[in-house]
Symmetry: C2
Subunit: 192 residues, 2 copies
């Protein structure tokens, strides 16, 4: 018998993504968002949801572009900071000492020091309620050489992404591997 | 200098969510989805993206409802299985030995043995490309008493959710806490 906890956004984990944009003055800005996820394979798309009140919301609408920079565990301080102040009156890059890099593919900056970044062209805008979901087509994924495994893919153990636990308000690192995708269920599949 | 890896869905982590539906025959079905995320706070909403070819896609369209059941680390075998066979010709509950529970709030079943579940009423349907995103309003979150902390919230260390690393095809557990949300960045905020 499960206990009812009410209508709320209480999933155990959410990503910690830093959304990069240029504002109306051309100032690079970043904000941290945990309401998001991959939402399509073809075209490859990622969705991030922002409130209309945020500085980044207007920037995505105006420029039709954004980036997603994925911070590493040792960047939790900067990532948290990017989520608690507004770019309206602050230059978050200057305060944090991190470096904006102008994307060559879309009209938005990403965070140089974060290990993995996505460059996205706005594909769809979905007004859901308090949040607007911006669905961006991923034009490129870029990663630091240092986090790549021998197969050329980012190694999660080197990227060290971290997660946010909504309401609990805790950041958690990524644990070790517990299994292989499209493999662990094969024995059950044979019984089908 | 970052290395370009191309236009692909290569974020370091994605959730492992099991989407529950009733099909046209009233048979409970589940499929595992990693393309998804929370997408709005008011109303509380979660988005899951499915290909039109899946059995679950038609079910959500027809019933206007779905659930999200969050598996624990020791259920990786069942969760993986739910993602590699189709409910069109298989009773995945019967094969896995897990139990469907009829939601009292929406026309969909959830997985009894999984520690946290969301009951969702279809709020919006977004055709993105290969995937359709179903945005569900979360009418209730339910959790096993055993995973609740003293404050009444699900304790991530007890839920033991796990993540999927796209393309790398690895499942990773959740690591330990590395910081507090809306706290770690306060020192930087004071400099703003």
């Amino acid at each position: 018998m499960k206990k009812s906890l009410g209508a709320r956004t209480l999933l155990p984990t959410a990503p910690v993504w830093v959304v990069g944009t240029y504002d109306a003055d051309g100032k690079p800005n970043v904000m941290t968002a945990s309401w998001g996820g991959i939402c399509c394979s073809k075209p490859p798309c990622v969705g991030v949801s922002l409130r209309a009140a945020t500085h980044s919301h207007a920037a995505i609408k105006a420029r039709g572009a954004f980036t997603v920079s994925v911070p590493s565990e040792d960047q939790v301080r900067e990532a948290d900071y990017f989520g608690i102040v507004s770019g309206k009156d602050t230059d978050k890059f200057e305060v944090s000492g991190l470096t904006p890099v102008r994307s060559e593919l879309v009209d938005a900056p990403y965070v140089s020091q974060f290990p993995v970044v996505l460059e996205c062209r706005l594909h769809l805008t979905v007004e859901i309620g308090l949040h607007t979901q911006f669905i961006g087509e991923i034009l490129d994924v870029k990663a630091d050489q240092a986090v790549l495994a021998a197969d050329g893919l980012p190694d999660p153990a080197k990227v060290k992404p971290f997660l946010y636990c909504p309401e609990v308000r805790a950041y958690h690192g990524l644990g070790g591997t517990i299994g292989r995708g499209f493999h662990e269920g094969k024995e059950l599949k044979r019984r089908s």
